[in-house]
Each structure stands twice: as structure tokens, then as C-alpha cells.
């Protein structure tokens, strides 16, 4: 097996006295699509921020392309981030820039392309997400799904070697969802982009993922190919993959017994 592009070992992270990750090990192979799935609040978005060096772990190591992200100087971290694309959950478009300028932003910052060439590259990226006609609009004029697609175009503007998607399918209509799924797959196949998808959407994610990690209660509860996880008989994996409310992973946040609390009043 090749050396992993993203190598997370013994990752421990807590926030406001709550343990989010406890000795987590994840390996993302180069050129593959790896999905991180799990119930809400398991720290999937936090994991992407840890990989990008936005947050710092309490213990453990995160290496991207052999470099320990949290040991890099500010300057080297900035250089390393140019090779990472992160699609934020809410898009995170710059509200003071138009859709065109949002996509052009990383190109203007990190390349010396002429405005003419830059225009062509931006229009190509926008065409890929179906928003070429919306290039002149401001983010406030876009719907939630369109914002996400514009942010997608911005994230792939520099053709990064590692693409991380935070809930890319949430809030998309069926047409946009299908286009996004195919786009992520095509980007991975054509450019051999190493891809990480954080998502709840089991069906869409399993359709394109090569390998899946299931996170719950701060640890990896299962890993394997989508087919292996879908056919797993392990109760907690089965519960998540089939969307069952009752099972090993509790649906309810820890609380006193329901009847006892109601009778207290």
C-alpha cells in the first residue's frame, strides 16, 4: 500500500472540556475518495479544521503529504494550505465580492495570471458548477444551494491536491446533488485529487467513496469499503448505515429519565 496522503495518528482533541476525539487513527490514500461519516456532533467538521491547521490537537499528529501540519511555521502552513481546498458547510463566500470575484480571489492571490486568462479560468470553474450565468451576482442574491456550488468553484480554483468537502450534499435539490456527486468523482478521476468527504448522506457518499470511516463518540467505530460497511452486522455500524433511531449510538443527549423530569414540576 502507498504512503497515505493524510495520516492522522493517535489524534486527541477536546473543546470546552468535552472530548471530541480520543486516540483516533485515520489514513487517507492518495488519489482516493475517503468519506468520514457519523452522527451529528461527532466532530467531523472539527476534523477537517484540524487537518487544515485551523485548530490544534491536544495530542497526536496530523501529517499531510509527509508534513506535520501543526509543526509547520506560519509561512509554511500558508504554503501547504494552497494545496488544500476546503468546501465549508455554509459556503463561506466573501459577502463583499461578487461570485466571479470570489472564484477569482485565490487565483489573484497565488498566481500571476493576466486578467484575460484569469477570466477564462473563472468562467470554466463556474461553468462546471452551472453558475456561469450568475458570475455577476452577489452572494446575498444566491440560494443556499447556489452558494455552496459557487464555493465549490472557488475551492477547486487552484486545482488543489487535497480536496475536503464539509457536508457537500446538504440542502441541494436532486439535480444539483447529482451534478455535485458526478463533479466530485470526475475531479478525483481526472486530476487524481485526494478527496475527503464529511457527510451524513449515506447513499450519495457511498456511491462515490472508495473507503469510509465511521466516527461516533470520539472514536472510529468502523472502517472499510462502502459495501463492507453497508453489509456489516456490527450493531452501531448497521444503525448508522440504515438510519435506525434506536441502537448502540444513542439518539438522545444524556439526560435524567423522562418521566422523572416531567413529574418534577
Amino acid at each position: 500500500m502507498h504512503k497515505p496522503w493524510v495520516d492522522i495518528s493517535k489524534l486527541t482533541f477536546s473543546h470546552q472540556n468535552k472530548l471530541i476525539f480520543d486516540q483516533v487513527d485515520i489514513r487517507v490514500q492518495r488519489g482516493k475518495i475517503t468519506a468520514i461519516m457519523g452522527p451529528s456532533g461527532t466532530g467531523k467538521t472539527t476534523l477537517l479544521q484540524l487537518i487544515g491547521g485551523v485548530l490544534t490537537p491536544n495530542a497526536g499528529k496530523i501529517c499531510v503529504d509527509g508534513d506535520d501540519v501543526h509543526a509547520l511555521s506560519r509561512k509554511n502552513l500558508s504554503i501547504a494550505r494552497r494545496n488544500m481546498g476546503l468546501l465549508f458547510q455554509n459556503g463561506a463566500l466573501f459577502t463583499h465580492l461578487s461570485v466571479f470575484d470570489n472564484v477569482a480571489f485565490p487565483l489573484r492571490e497565488h498566481t500571476n495570471l493576466s486578467e484575460l486568462l484569469l477570466r477564462d479560468v473563472v468562467l470554466m470553474k463556474l461553468e462546471a458548477v452551472g453558475l456561469r450565468g450568475a458570475a455577476h451576482l452577489m452572494p446575498s442574491q444566491l440560494s443556499g444551494g447556489m452558494s455552496r456550488r459557487a464555493a465549490f468553484a472557488r475551492a477547486i480554483a487552484l486545482d488543489p491536491e487535497l480536496m475536503m468537502y464539509d457536508e457537500p450534499f446538504t440542502g441541494q435539490d436532486p439535480i444539483s446533488m447529482g451534478v455535485l456527486v458526478r463533479l466530485i468523482k470526475r475531479l478525483n478521476e481526472l486530476l487524481h485529487t485526494t478527496t475527503m468527504i464529511v457527510s451524513h448522506d449515506v447513499e450519495e457518499t457511498c456511491e462515490i467513496a472508495d473507503y469510509v470511516y465511521l466516527l461516533a463518540e470520539g472514536r472510529v467505530i468502523g472502517e472499510g469499503t462502502p459495501a463492507a460497511l453497508l453489509n456489516s452486522t456490527q450493531p452501531d455500524i448497521r444503525q448508522f448505515m440504515r438510519g435506525e433511531a434506536d441502537g448502540a449510538v444513542p439518539f438522545h443527549y444524556p439526560a435524567r429519565p423522562y418521566a422523572e423530569e416531567l413529574l418534577d414540576a
Binding site: S78, F88, N90, A92, F94, E109
Partner: protein, 260 residues
Amino acid sequence: MLDRIAQTGAFGRTSVQRLGQAGVFLCRLLLRIPNFKKIGPSVWHQLYSVGVLSGIVIVVSGLFIGMVVGLQGHHTLQKFGASSQLGQLLALSIARELGPVVSALLFAGRAGSALTAEIGLMKATEQLASMDMMGVDPLARIVYPRFLAGLIALPVLSLIFSAVAVYGGYLVGVERLGVDAGSFWSNMQAAVNFRLDVLSGIIKSMVFAFLVSWVAVYQGFTSTPTAAGISQATTRSVVHASLLILGFDFLLTALMIGGW
């Protein structure tokens, strides 16, 4: 009793810690070589946003304050038969104190709060994090242009405020109350020393611009990324900046007069 001492200690420790963090933030902001080619348009846009758009508040307030000082001054000076000294009183009180201080307080309320809220909202909507993830430092691209615009805009607004306030005093004193225009202007010209009065006012407004801009961008950048967090940061921005303006005004006045 022990609890109270512990609480006081914890409050003091937190305050010193926050002051230290604000100092580190300022060093990170200033110890850089700005790329004016890239931040130029942003500085220009911010100058419009914090400077030009604050102009109307500054002009209207300056006019009314000048008119009030003109009225009060005339009322008091008349008792001593010295109403011809109105121009002198007006120019000195406005150039030395009212111009820099009131315009800075207005600037903190109008532009400082807007800067804090804007940066706080950008943080809450992950715009700063996404910029960071693109390998672009948000301190350089977002915070620095706003800080610089504040630094440039307030001294200019302060000068406009003073000029308009003197005109407001002229309108009330000369046009309405009948003070002789010649004595009004000549007494003013004779009494006002450019270096001691006008320049000290400009220096004050530059110091206030530094303080207001620093507080505003720091509060926005470190705000809790929630609706309540941004609201608290905006309030803190105006309160802290206003107290700093008044405190530093006393300090600067004492230094300039040379009484201490």
C-alpha cells in the same frame, strides 16, 4: 470574603491576559510589510465606508456643538462685557478639546462599531477561516485595510468637525447675536497658535484614531462567532474606545500643557 478576593483576582488576571492578547494582536498587525498593490482597493473602499459615510454625522454634530458653544460662550462673556472674545473662546475650545474628542467619540460609535460587527460577522460565517484555508492571512487582507482606513479617516474628520463647529459658532455669535465679525475673526487669529493649539488637536485625533481602530478590529477579530457574541463585541468596542479616548485625552492634555 475569600471568594470575593478570588473573584477579584480572577477578574484582574483575565483583564491582564486580554490586554496582553490585544498587544500581541497589534504586534502581529503592525509588524508586517503591507502589499499596497493588493490591499490598495480595499483601503480605498474602507476609507469611503468609515470616512465618507461618517461625514454627515460629523458635519451635523460639529455644526450643533459650535452653535451651542457660541450661545453658552456669548451668554457668559456678555456678563463681563467681553463678548468680542467669542471667536477666541470658540476656536481654542474646539481646536484643543471638542474637535478631537467629540469627533473620536462619534467615530467610535459610527465607524468603530461597524468595523467590529463586520469583522465579527465575517468570522461567524467562516469567511475568515476560509481565507486562512486558502493560504491568505485575514489579518493582512481584511483587518489591516480597515485599521489603516480608520487611522487616516479620523484625523481628517476631526479637522472637518472643528472647521464646521467654528462656522456654527460664527452663525450664532455674529449672524444671530450681533458680535462684530471683525473682532470675532481677528481675536481668533491672534489667540490661536498653530503649533500649540491646532497641531496638538491633530496629534490628539491621531492618537484617538489609533486607539479606536485598534479596539474595533481587535474586538471584531476575537468576538465569539454567534449573534450574542457579535453584539457583545460591538458594545465592548464602543465602551472601551470611548473610555480610552477620555482617559488618553486627560493624559495628552496634561503632557501638552506641561502642568505635570
